[in-house]
């Protein structure tokens, strides 16, 4: 649905986005992650034809960005901070958006009714946008961006500045929309992307750093196998036996708990060394008991920090 091919955008001599290529499939929710100033907004502005790319191109449903009027019909866009006309009431604002998209009066009425229901705006239809809370304004922005029934939604940080309840509501809304539309959303809040998106990409300094599902990204970031365990019984013998089998094994943290229980964290540089299985066999051989055994996974946060130089 969205296919970017080496998109570049320069401001003066500085590259805001450099050689960015990615693809978002139809009906997918894709997260665009990156620290502030990484080029997320610039990427979105290019995809919505607000800023022309300095070089490269993107195809939206097969249409090049140079066919900007056609592309804009396919795309619904919610800019950062959800700008809207504060002096208008919600209904007038949605009417205006519908007219700008060339919807006929009947379609407009239907769509406004439908969107106000989807986004929960029925209560505030005749209130001025100025008087609404930030969460409602965000919803108004979302409703306006979907009024012309776009196939593709581009949302720039849709949950910034909202309280936790509002964030959850907007997330639900986006998930619900993602069932029917292609969504590209940017954020620097990791749990949000993890909760909402099917796949994500991480960009930093305008360049693509990683691309995939949350599990794939975690795997990418993890260099080696890490295991957390609690051993009861002959724990030192168990570890000695395991070390004999895996000479590169390291014990990162070790502490003795009540009742002679040893809690430790093991690390081996080779992910495919089946550390957990070998630990189990070693414990059985020494007639010890493993009370806990847990594979440590790199969290999305670790991936993000690693790829963006710990700037998060």
């Amino acid at each position: 649905m969205i296919k970017a091919e080496s998109l570049c955008r320069q401001y003066g001599n500085q590259f805001a986005v450099q050689n960015l290529s990615f693809e978002v499939k139809r009906g997918e929710v894709m997260g665009l992650l990156g620290p502030n100033g990484a080029g997320k907004s610039t990427t979105m502005k290019m995809l919505t034809c607000f800023l022309p790319p300095s070089s490269g191109d993107a195809l939206i449903d097969g249409l090049s960005l140079s066919q900007s009027i056609e592309v804009r019909r396919l795309v619904g866009y919610l800019p950062e901070h959800a700008p809207s006309y504060h002096d208008l009431d919600v209904e007038a604002y949605l009417q205006f958006t519908g007219k700008m998209h060339g919807l006929s009066q009947a379609t407009r009425q239907d769509k406004i009714a439908e969107m106000s229901r989807t986004c929960g705006l029925e209560q505030v239809m005749f209130r001025r946008i100025e008087e609404l809370s930030k969460g409602y304004r965000q919803r108004v922005g979302l409703a306006a961006s979907m009024l012309h029934d776009p196939q593709c939604l581009i949302l720039d940080e849709p949950t910034t500045g909202l309280d936790p309840n509002q964030i959850i509501e907007i997330r639900h809304l986006i998930r619900h929309l993602g069932e029917h539309k292609t969504v590209l959303l940017s954020s620097h809040i990791l749990p949000e992307v993890e909760a909402v998106c099917d796949r994500m990409m991480i960009i930093d300094k305008g360049e693509l750093q990683a691309y995939g599902t949350s599990a794939e990204l975690s795997k990418q970031a993890q260099a080696g196998a890490r295991l957390h365990t609690k051993i009861q019984g002959e724990s030192s013998k168990v570890l000695a036996r395991l070390k004999a089998e895996l000479p590169e094994l390291e014990v990162i943290a070790e502490s003795t708990l009540e009742g002679g229980l040893l809690q430790c964290e093991l690390y081996h540089p080779d992910v495919s060394c089946v550390l957990a299985e070998k630990l189990f066999h070693a414990a059985v051989a020494e007639t010890s008991v493993l009370l806990e055994i847990r594979q440590e996974q790199a969290s999305l946060e670790d991936v993000f920090r690693e790829l963006t130089g710990g700037k998060s």
């Binding site: 056609e70 019909r73 866009y77 700008p83 205006f96 958006t97």
Partner: protein
Amino acid sequence: MSVMIALCQKEWRISLDTPQGYVVSIAFLLVSGFFFGSSLFLNGQADMRHWFSILPLLFIFFIPAMSMRLLADELHDGTYELLATMPTRTIDIVLGKYLSLLGHITFLLVLTLTYPLTLSLLGDLDMGLVMAAYLAAWLLAAMFAAACLYASSLTSHAMIAYIVGLMLLLAMFLLTQLAPTLSVYLQDMIALFGPINHYHNMLRGVVSLADVMLFIALIAMFLSLSWFELERRRWR
């Protein structure tokens, strides 16, 4: 076309829903009424020559106030990003904004038609002359509006847009005032291209194609500049 109408309606809706539109309109009508009344009662003359000669000055102060927020506010609030990502061309945005402003000014000028109507009841008024003068005033206002819209496209602060617009219009006005002190060549140039000079030509009751064309050319120039300025923002 539907885009321009939608934009016009939105601007008028904002003007009607907020005090900004009313304040400027009422102030304009009060001040213009004062000048009309003063010439009528002080001089005891039932003609509008005095009022029409003052009118450019009123425009110079009031048109920048009517136009200042048109593009500057959109740029400031980020709503321009919404407009520019709707399926519209930049020129449609400029024309829509311009038409809304022109509509506002036309409405105010139509309200001042009560002055010649009052005068025609009191004395013998040359209606042909007054109509030519109204056409001149409308063209001048339309030209000033285009210049002020351009001023509004230059900045994202409405106040700065007002000052820039005011300066632009004052420059045009003062150039005509200063003309007698300049060299003959410059005087000729100002007579040829000065909008105020052409306005005064038309006040005599003669509507020549040259006068009308000058206003239209200047309007086209300022609208093109506004379009260019908005496009330039996307490229820098």
